[in-house]
Structures are given as structure tokens and as C-alpha cells.
């Protein structure tokens, strides 16, 4: 297992301008890169033999609305190298309404996680072949994992109105 510091150094050497910040936390490297350079860095992470991050475990996002940070979201990619047995948390920043390049063409496992991130946070992924809502139903207006969405939901304790549902029914 390679050390986290070596991994960070290796990425810094090749993509110095792309990196916003890089640190080690509890033994895992955490690297934040610029959105424009994301695909370039990802391609390097796969190709470089010392890294070889061939398994994309998860894609998710973190909302920083309570901290009034711009850009608002962090998009997080968790990568694992099966051959070298080490992990990497790769992050990028994106503001509301902006698009992130999809990594679907590099790792097919990004399919559902990217759709879910779109569903839950409203972050659009450019180049994703089938960007629809995943867990919530089509026609739902909100993005539930945003920090301004109450845990109860907006329609808690409200009477169920069949008319509103009728509009959202998908026609096959």
C-alpha cells in the first residue's frame, strides 16, 4: 500500500495547476481539483501505473449552504486502485446552476451515482447519457439533500391531493 503523501506528491508533480488543495486525513489522500481540469486529472489517475485507479466506488456531493460558501457544492469521487490497494478522495467545486463534466465514459459505474447526485442536489453532469431523477419520482420539484430542504419535507401533514399526482404520472 502506497503512502498517501506519495500519492499526493505524484499528482501534484503532474497537475500542479489543477490542484486547489491536497491533504492527508486519517491515512487517505484528499485532493481537490479545478472543475475544468477534472477529466484530465481522472485520465491521468487511470493511466499512471503507480496509481491505476481503475475502480470508481462512488460519486456524491456536499452542500455548503449554511457556510455561505461560493461555489456552493463539493462533488466527491471515491476511487480505489485494485492492483495497488489504495484509495483516493477526489473532489471538485461547483456552484449552483453550473455543470460538472461526467466521468461516465471513464468509469461506467458513475451511471447511477451521478444520476442520484443530480436528483438529490440538482447538480447537472455534462455528457451523462441518461440524466434523469433516480430515487425521487419524475416531476418532483425539490432536491432533498440540499441543506435548505427540511427533513420532514414540504408536504408533511398535508392532505394528499390526487390532482397533483395526476400531473406527474408518466405516460408510456
Amino acid at each position: 500500500m502506497a503512502k498517501a503523501k506519495d500519492i499526493i506528491k505524484l499528482i501534484q508533480k503532474k497537475h500542479k495547476k489543477a490542484i486547489i488543495e491536497a491533504e492527508e486525513f486519517r491515512g487517505d489522500p484528499v485532493v481537490k481539483v479545478k472543475k475544468e481540469k477534472l477529466i484530465e486529472v481522472c485520465e491521468y489517475l487511470i493511466k499512471e501505473k503507480k496509481l491505476a485507479y481503475n475502480l470508481l466506488v462512488d460519486v456524491t456531493a456536499v452542500d455548503f449552504l449554511p457556510y455561505k460558501r461560493t461555489p456552493r457544492f463539493d462533488v466527491v469521487y471515491i476511487l480505489v486502485s485494485i492492483d495497488n490497494e489504495h484509495r483516493l478522495i477526489l473532489k471538485t467545486e461547483v456552484d449552483e446552476g453550473e455543470k460538472v463534466p461526467s466521468v461516465y465514459h471513464l468509469w461506467k459505474s458513475a451511471n447511477f451515482p451521478e444520476r442520484e447526485t443530480y436528483d438529490m442536489f440538482g447538480i447537472e453532469f455534462e455528457g451523462h447519457p441518461d440524466l434523469r431523477r433516480l430515487l425521487m419520482w419524475p416531476g418532483y420539484e425539490y432536491h432533498p439533500l440540499r441543506k435548505d430542504f427540511p427533513t420532514k419535507g414540504y408536504d408533511f401533514d398535508e392532505k394528499w391531493d390526487p390532482e397533483t399526482i395526476k400531473e406527474n404520472v408518466i405516460q408510456y
Partner: protein, 389 residues
């Protein structure tokens, strides 16, 4: 006969062999599947959102409800992630107890899989044998924690309580008798002509494709991906135990079955080693901000205050983010925690293995017959509670 019309069929959500509320939109040419689109989200309970409103400790029972067939493994993944965030060390006895309980859970999960997958294909006998043995494991877990299906046995810093002689006896009895039972399952299925014909060369995924699609666990290993979190990133003293990781060659549904059958044996081996070498000592890390043991609370005023503080306001975790995964009964089960320095997880993302496996379902079943979908889903071993979260 060349099919002139394309048919659309909604497979599920109430079909018994989808093992929950999974819906697949199929496009058919005759009985051949041309296009498949899995539609999930009907069991979505928003566990990630609810966890944001709970303290780190309160969120443990939520994780039981993910993969309810092997609940303790989810507990383990979550508490390990919190422990990694806090940077604390767990006593050796607690680590061994965690290994025993989680391997028992893995066997429990595989029991449900073998029973229901065989039942889907009409082999009714297996489910009775599997559930009879599952009952013995449930009794073991009940002896340790008091719960059967959702025990919530793991705690941040250790386990809920120490085990007694009764538990050790029960586990030893199970470990001794179980290898024979696995051979029994194999006589029912491995050389069963119907089982073989329906499973062999079905839903084949190659090595490169399996990695690209992110398949882990027995599904990935059947395709030759030698990746087991217990070996690659050892946690909870797994490096102490001697066990092998079964790897398949063809990547079809039958290889997945064979991998899981071998996992039954390897898990039994791990439990045997753990129960024989169970070290003495405390089962909870003695750390000021964590929950003090029950006996201390009754005699020591300081411990009582600690208990109150722990329950009412929780503890403040350091700022940072961690990803910790365990080898679940279905594949790599991971927890990504982001902490902003408060007592609640600012963001808790659950990476469930079945979720990724369902996204790979179109690649597996397109081009096969409609009845093969049932076999393919059976081979994937999906649990909808984990997919929809």
C-alpha cells in the same frame, strides 16, 4: 419467426423474484430482451437525510435497515467510519466479537440468497434447509445482543455488551455442524441439471467490464476481480485470520453461485479461528467522550454525567472527511462521512453494493430471454432496502 412488433413490459415492482420493489422496464422482441431499464426508488426512506439530523450515535440503528438480511455488517461499516473520523482504537476483544458477529451475518445474508434464488427457479427444498440453519445463527446473535434481525450490536468504540458462555457454546456448536450442511446444499444444487442449465453462461461479465461497472463482492469476484476489502484494506483485525478469497473465471451466474458457496466455508473458518482465540479484556474503548460501561454508571457519579452528556448532546467530531468500507455480504459497503466539527454527521453517504449491481443489470440481461432475468437477479443477490436507502 421474426418479431415484427416490439413489446414493452413492466417487470415488477410486485414480482416475487425481484426480491423487493424493483421495477424493470423491458423492451421485448418476442421473448428476447432488447432493452432493460431498472427503475428504483420505491423504498426510498431518506436514511442519509435523517442521519444528518441525528447525532453520530443515534444514527447506528438506521444502518440496520439498509441490508436487513445481514444487518450487523452495516452497523460495522458505519461505526468503523465514525471511529476512523475520531481516530480511536478499539479493544482487541471487541474487534474479535465484531468479526464473529459480522461473519455470522454474512452467512445469514447468503442463507437468504440461496433460499430465495433457488425458490425462484422452482427448487423448493433448499429454502427449508437454509432457513432452518439461519434460525441457529439468529439464536447466536440473540444471545449476544438481544435482537434477531436488526441487532444494533456495534457501538462507537466497541460493542454493546460482552458475551457470555452460552453465546460461545452456541457459536461453537454452529461452527462444528455447519460445514456438513454446506455440503448438503451443494448436493441439492451444484449438480442439479436444471440449476446448471439455467445458470451456466448466463449474464456473463468479463474482467475489464466488471471493474469498469464497479462490481464488487461475489459478483465481481466471479468475473476474476480479486478484490476483497478484508484483504485489500484490513479492518477490525481481519489480518489475524487465515482465509481465502474465492475467485471465479467465467463471470456467469453459476460462478457467482460457486463463489458464494465457498464464502460460506471461509466465513465459518474465520468464526472458528475467532471464537477459539477470543482474547480477554474490555469490549468498549475507555475514552472520555464515549458512552461509559453500564456497571460504572451505577456506581460512579462521573460516569453518570458522562452518560448524560453522551446521550443528550453527543460528542464533537473533528473536522474532516473519511471513507471507510467493509466487505458486506453483497460487496463493498462504504460510508463516506463529512464532519464540520459538530456532533452530527454533516453528510453521510452510503455506498451500497447492490445499487451498483442493479445499474449493471442492463449489461447482463440484454440479449437473453425474459425468464433469464429471474436467474440473473437471483445471482446478483439484491436487497432493495440497501439500494433505495
Amino acid at each position: 419467426m421474426a418479431a415484427e412488433r416490439k413489446w414493452k413490459l413492466h417487470f415488477g415492482p410486485h414480482h416475487p423474484s425481484t426480491h423487493g420493489v424493483l421495477r424493470i422496464e423491458l423492451e421485448l422482441e418476442g421473448e428476447k430482451v432488447v432493452k432493460a431499464t431498472p427503475i428504483i426508488g420505491q423504498l426510498h426512506r431518506g436514511i442519509e437525510k435523517i442521519a444528518e439530523d441525528f447525532t453520530f450515535h443515534q444514527a447506528i440503528p438506521l444502518t440496520d435497515r439498509l441490508d436487513y438480511t445481514a444487518a450487523s455488517l452495516n452497523n460495522l461499516g458505519y461505526v468503523l467510519a465514525v471511529e476512523k473520523l475520531l481516530g480511536i482504537e478499539v479493544p482487541k476483544r471487541a474487534q474479535y466479537l465484531r468479526v464473529i458477529i459480522s461473519e455470522l451475518s454474512r452467512i445469514m445474508g447468503h442463507h437468504l440468497w440461496i433460499g430465495s434464488a433457488a425458490l425462484d427457479l422452482g427448487a423448493m427444498t433448499v429454502v427449508f434447509y437454509a432457513f432452518a440453519d439461519r434460525e441457529i445463527i439468529m439464536e447466536c446473535i440473540e444471545a449476544a445482543s438481544g435482537g434477531r434481525l436488526t441487532p444494533t450490536y456495534m457501538r462507537i468504540g466497541g460493542v454493546a455488551k460482552d458475551v457470555d458462555e452460552k453465546f460461545i457454546e452456541k457459536v461453537k456448536y454452529f461452527v462444528d455442524m455447519f460445514p456438513e450442511k454446506i455440503d448438503g446444499y451443494e448436493t441439492l444444487l451444484t449438480d442439479n441439471i436444471i440449476w446448471r442449465q439455467r445458470n451456466e453462461d448466463l449474464a456473463v461479465i468479463s474482467y475489464d467490464e466488471a471493474i469498469n461497472l464497479g462490481l464488487t463482492g461475489a459478483v465481481g469476484r466471479a468475473s476474476g476481480v480479486n478484490y476483497d476489502v478484508r484483504k485489500a484494506f484490513p479492518y477490525s483485525s481481519y489480518e489475524d485470520f487465515d482465509f481465502e478469497v474465492p475467485v471465479g473465471t467465467k463471470g456467469d451466474a453459476f460462478d457467482r453461485y460457486m463463489c458464494r458457496m465457498e464464502e460460506f466455508r471461509q466465513s465459518t473458518r474465520i468464526i472458528k479461528q475467532a471464537i477459539e482465540n477470543l482474547p480477554d479484556g474490555p469490549v468498549m474503548a475507555d475514552i472520555p467522550f464515549l458512552n461509559p460501561p453500564q456497571e460504572k454508571v451505577r456506581t460512579d457519579i462521573d460516569a453518570l454525567i458522562r452518560r448524560f452528556k453522551f446521550v443528550l448532546e453527543g460528542f464533537h467530531a473533528p473536522k474532516g472527511e473519511v471513507y471507510q468500507s467493509v466487505e458486506g455480504s453483497k460487496g463493498e459497503l462504504g460510508f463516506y462521512l463529512y464532519s464540520d466539527g459538530g456532533s452530527k454527521p454533516y453528510r453521510c453517504k452510503i455506498k451500497s453494493p447492490c445499487y451498483i449491481h442493479v445499474s449493471a443489470l442492463p449489461e447482463m440481461i440484454e440479449g437473453y430471454m425474459i425468464s433469464d432475468i429471474i436467474t440473473a437477479i437471483g445471482g446478483l443477490d439484491i436487497v432493495l432496502g440497501e439500494i433505495d436507502r
